[in-house]
């Protein structure tokens, strides 16, 4: 019903507009086309000027309204560089934006057709062309210079003491692997993947480096002020590790591992205090179209102190032991005290 109503209104509005448009065409012919044309010329010239002024006010209003909703201060060292570059570019382009848009609409208004003026024959001026080739070139050299300088800093090799975390995207979730005490991620091969058999990452168990690797899903823990190197991969299609608060992003490509590194500078707790939002979490978003669940492929990043991190990691069992319960000391203890359950069973029977 509502839809019908809207369609009816649109149709009616359209019919009225059309009739007015037709009528104005007839009137124009009757009153003399030249006169009608000049009138519409004045109206449009004025509208262009009005558009400029209202538009610029709109730009200001939009910024006032929305600037608080972008993410706030970056939470990583690289994020600071990204934001700085962003603001340098913003400053420069905004000046160009204002100058050119004002010139465009002002010229349109000022030089609208008038019987009093003749257009000025001005086909070329090489000096001007050189000026507006050189000035943008200089401005862009500055931007390229800063850009590449920061880019090389961000994409440089991770520091030696960086912790390593493996991030793997799949339809539609995130898997993480920590190297354990030895600091080395064990080798893996995709044909070993066997989620039911306790090997979701496809680890090669013959590699001893794998024996202490910890596997977790959906939640990544990082240590504040400690550089972290993410080794990124994907199982099925291309995903993308998007960390908006850290201003970091890297594709996860099946078959081609990628890496990125950064240093988180604020713990989740700190961010909760700073933003005044007790539910604040760092989110890990998939930024590369990956299928029907793309929009919901969310992971959580917890940034905490070294002590908290150590406690968290210690609470996790290496995946090797999950896959090989017979080698798990904690499980062995259970099997050693095997009579207990039997006794319990007997008890049950006895009752």
């Amino acid at each position: 019903m509502q839809t019908l109503f809207i369609v009816a209104i649109l149709t009616l509005g359209f019919l009225i507009t059309f009739q007015i448009a037709k009528a104005s065409e007839y009137v124009a012919v009757l009153r003399g086309e030249e006169r009608a044309r000049k009138q519409s010329n004045r109206i449009n010239g004025f509208m262009l000027l009005a558009f400029l002024i209202i538009g610029l006010i709109g730009v200001y209003y939009c910024n006032e309204k929305l600037k608080g909703k972008i993410l706030g201060a970056p939470a990583s060292d690289h994020g600071v560089l990204v934001d700085r570059m962003l603001y340098i570019t913003l400053g420069l382009t905004f000046i160009v934006f204002i100058i050119t848009q004002v010139a465009l609409f002002w010229f349109c208004y000022k030089y609208q057709e008038s019987d009093k003026r003749k257009a000025y024959y001005y086909p070329h001026n090489n000096k001007l062309e050189v000026i507006w080739t050189v000035i943008p070139a200089i401005a862009l050299t500055i931007l390229v210079g800063f850009g590449i300088f920061y880019w090389f800093k961000i994409t440089s090799n991770a520091p030696k003491d960086a912790m390593v975390v493996e991030v793997v995207g799949k339809q539609f979730g995130w898997e993480f692997r920590y190297p354990g005490k030895d600091g080395i991620l064990g080798k893996k091969y995709f044909k070993n993947v066997d989620a039911e058999g306790g090997n979701p990452a496809g680890q090669i168990w013959d590699d001893p480096a794998n024996h202490d690797d910890v596997f977790v899903e959906q939640e990544m823990h990082l240590v504040v002020n400690k550089p972290v190197k993410l080794v990124i991969g994907a199982k099925d299609v291309i995903h993308d590790v998007g960390l908006a608060h850290f201003r970091m992003k890297m594709d996860a490509v099946p078959g081609t591992p990628t890496t990125m590194w950064f240093t988180p500078t604020k713990t989740t707790k700190q961010m909760r205090e700073e933003t005044g939002n007790p539910d604040f979490v760092y989110e890990l978003s998939c930024d590369q179209m990956c299928g029907r669940g793309h929009f919901s492929m969310r992971g959580v990043v917890v940034v905490e102190t070294q002590a908290e991190f150590d406690a968290w990691l210690a609470s996790k069992k290496p995946q090797y032991l999950t896959a090989h319960p017979d080698k798990d000391p904690s499980v062995k203890k259970d099997t050693a005290s095997a009579p207990k359950p039997i006794a319990a069973a007997l008890n049950v029977k006895g009752n």
Binding site: L81, F107, I232, T256
Partner: protein, 603 residues
């Protein structure tokens, strides 16, 4: 041949065409040969335009549908279920359907509307008319070019109606998502049809492009040296060169992808476990496809934009009654853009794990494009400066084009800089950027062209009051839709997220999303009004009585109001000057066909 030479001494390029004209004049044209399988470049241009309009309505409607989902993710629209069945169960768009919609929206508008509909229309219409030729170098290939496009359209359209739905991997069609049937419904038959359709489309585009190039190089009338060509022709020329050199690369990508999908090859596939199933493929590179895709994909942006630039240059000059400022600089910047267009493709791939050094080279080359773009903008501004501007709907759209090109071009400087791109890549910022600079701006160029050359196409005017309403609503709407969208991108909101309620970082803009949706519905309605104006005016518009209604210098206005096959009755006019002698020596305009006077000043 000897007869032709006799008629037109000194012209060596045209004898065959003359002959053709004589030949045709004696034959009665049937409906089929005149309107369907026509070899007349003007009719083919109109065919491209009308097919483009139909596609634009479809593609635009898709955007309205997914905007409904974005603006009102929690609301159900029962009518959607009535129309789309399981794609909108319970009146809510399903994720599969949403991704099919965005994919088709992108594909249709980029390729079928802004490539075929824009350059197909105006290259066909304007090249022979403005260079002084009776038709294209090969009218037959020209006709085939349209019909291959038509065939591609049919295949693409059919994919909308199959059980598993059309392709849904995004218009960039990245494998492995597009290569693996297990990865989603859209990756089933829909993707095969998409690839076949694109292959046909590329054939069409190549046939057209080769034809445009050879026509411009060989069939110019006497006196029409390359530097006397109107700027739209130069723009079409570079567009065609870009298309001919880059489309085959996409074709190779599409064919390899078809092999991966159907023949078990591993060009793009390696190390894949999809839905628990381990695939045998090893050694392929998913990134390879992105290189192949963007080697076309980036020039494609300029394939879309250059014709608009050329037409805007012409229209601004004609209607400000002033020569285009810096003709040679305009030409040089077109050339520079054309060259650079081939050298920047990897800026779409900064975060794919590309070697950082390579990335920095692409940053440099990408930002370099801003220099010729800036030259063009300043030259347009200077063309308006001290003019005597007539605001026809075409002029307004041309002015709108310049405004949008500035806005969208400047945000390109953000994205082309890899450091900022790390944060903004694949966010709504990108969506806002390319819609303004490539989508809406090119549409404005196309509208400007339609309003300006409609009298030549159909011998009637479009209703200009409707034209003004069309312009103002579209202009205001475009900025309302896309300007605030940049802020969503700055907040990191990834594109192609149909429902942001599950996120705390990106969920800050529900009101904004509603506003954008409402505005886009209004803008879409106004485009329908334009379509109505277009078809109504073909039959009922005010008749053109003046063969040169805008007082323009170029050759198309020296033909009869509705030129027949062959364009000029009698001889093709000779050209004596460049096309931009407006306001020279106190005269309003001096057509290209007027010989240079003895006392005329030099420029």
């Amino acid at each position: 041949m000897s007869e032709a030479l006799h008629v037109h001494p000194g012209t060596t390029a045209l004898p065959d065409v003359h002959h053709d004209e004589h030949h045709h004049a004696h034959h009665k044209e049937t409906f089929i040969s005149k309107y369907v399988f026509s070899m007349d470049h003007k009719t083919i241009g109109k065919q491209f335009l009308i097919t483009g309009i139909v596609w634009a309505i479809i593609g635009g409607l898709f955007s309205v549908l997914f905007r409904l989902q974005l603006g009102y993710p929690d609301q159900s629209f029962p009518i959607l279920e009535t129309v789309f069945g399981k794609g909108a169960k319970g009146g809510q768009i399903t994720p599969e359907f949403y991704y099919a919609l965005v994919t088709m929206h992108g594909t249709v508008l980029v390729f079928f509307v802004l490539t075929a509909g824009l350059s197909g229309t105006f290259a066909n219409l304007l090249i022979p008319l403005q260079i002084g030729a009776r038709d294209m170098a090969s009218p037959m290939l020209n006709m085939l070019s349209y019909w291959f496009f038509f065939l591609a359209s049919i295949v693409m359209l059919s994919s909308l109606f199959i059980q598993t739905g059309p392709a849904a991997g995004g218009w960039t069609m990245y494998p492995p998502l597009s290569a693996l049937r297990q990865a989603g419904d859209g990756s089933k038959l829909g993707t095969d049809l998409w690839l076949v359709s694109m292959a046909l489309f590329i054939v069409s585009s190549l046939l057209g492009g080769l034809n445009y190039i050879s026509t411009i190089l060989n069939l110019r009338t006497k006196g029409m040296s390359m530097t006397r060509l109107p700027l739209p022709i130069w723009a079409m020329f570079f567009t065609a060169v870009l298309g001919v050199l880059s489309f085959p690369v996409l074709l190779s990508g599409a064919i390899l992808l078809l092999f991966d999908r159907n023949l078990g090859t591993s060009f793009f596939l390696s190390d894949i476990v999809v839905n628990g199933e381990i695939l045998p493929n090893e050694g392929g590179s998913a990134i390879l496809f992105q290189h192949l895709f963007w080697f076309l994909g980036h020039p494609e942006v300029y394939i879309i934009l250059l014709p608009a630039m050329g037409m805007v240059s012409e229209i601004l000059s004609v209607n400000s009654r002033k020569p285009i400022f810096g003709y040679m600089a305009m030409l040089g910047s077109l050339f520079a853009i054309c060259i650079l267009a081939f050298l920047v493709w990897a800026h779409h791939m900064f975060v794919t794990g590309l070697n950082p050094f390579l990335g920095s080279v692409f940053v440099l080359l990408t930002l370099l494009i801003a220099v010729p773009s800036a030259i063009k903008v300043f030259n347009w501004l200077t063309t308006l400066w001290r003019g005597n501007i007539r605001f026809t709907p075409a002029t307004l759209f041309a002015v709108g084009f310049v405004s949008l090109f500035i806005s969208g071009g400047l945000t390109g400087i953000f994205l082309g800089n890899s450091t900022i791109d790390i944060h903004l890549h694949d966010t709504m910022f990108v969506v806002a950027h390319f819609h303004i600079v490539m989508g809406v701006a090119s549409f404005f160029g196309m509208f400007a062209g339609v309003y300006h050359w409609f009298p030549k196409m159909f011998g009637r005017y479009l209703n200009s009051t409707l034209g003004y309403i069309h312009f103002w609503v579209t202009m205001i709407g475009a900025y309302l839709i896309f300007w605030p969208m940049h802020y969503q991108g700055l907040a990191g909101t990834p594109r192609r997220y149909l429902d942001k309620r599950g996120w705390s970082s990106f969920n800050g803009f529900p009101e904004l999303d509603k506003m954008i949706t409402i505005v886009s519905i209004i803008v879409f309605a106004v485009q329908l009004m334009f379509v109505f104006n277009f078809f109504y005016s073909i039959f009922k518009g005010r008749k053109v009585t003046n063969p040169n209604p805008w007082g323009a210098n170029t050759l198309e206005w020296t033909t009869p109001i509705q030129p027949g096959h062959g364009n000029w009755e009698g001889e093709i006019p000779e050209v004596y000057r460049w096309p931009y002698d407006y306001a020279k020596d106190g005269r309003d305009f001096i057509p290209q066909t007027e010989p240079v006077g003895e006392n005329e000043s030099k420029h």
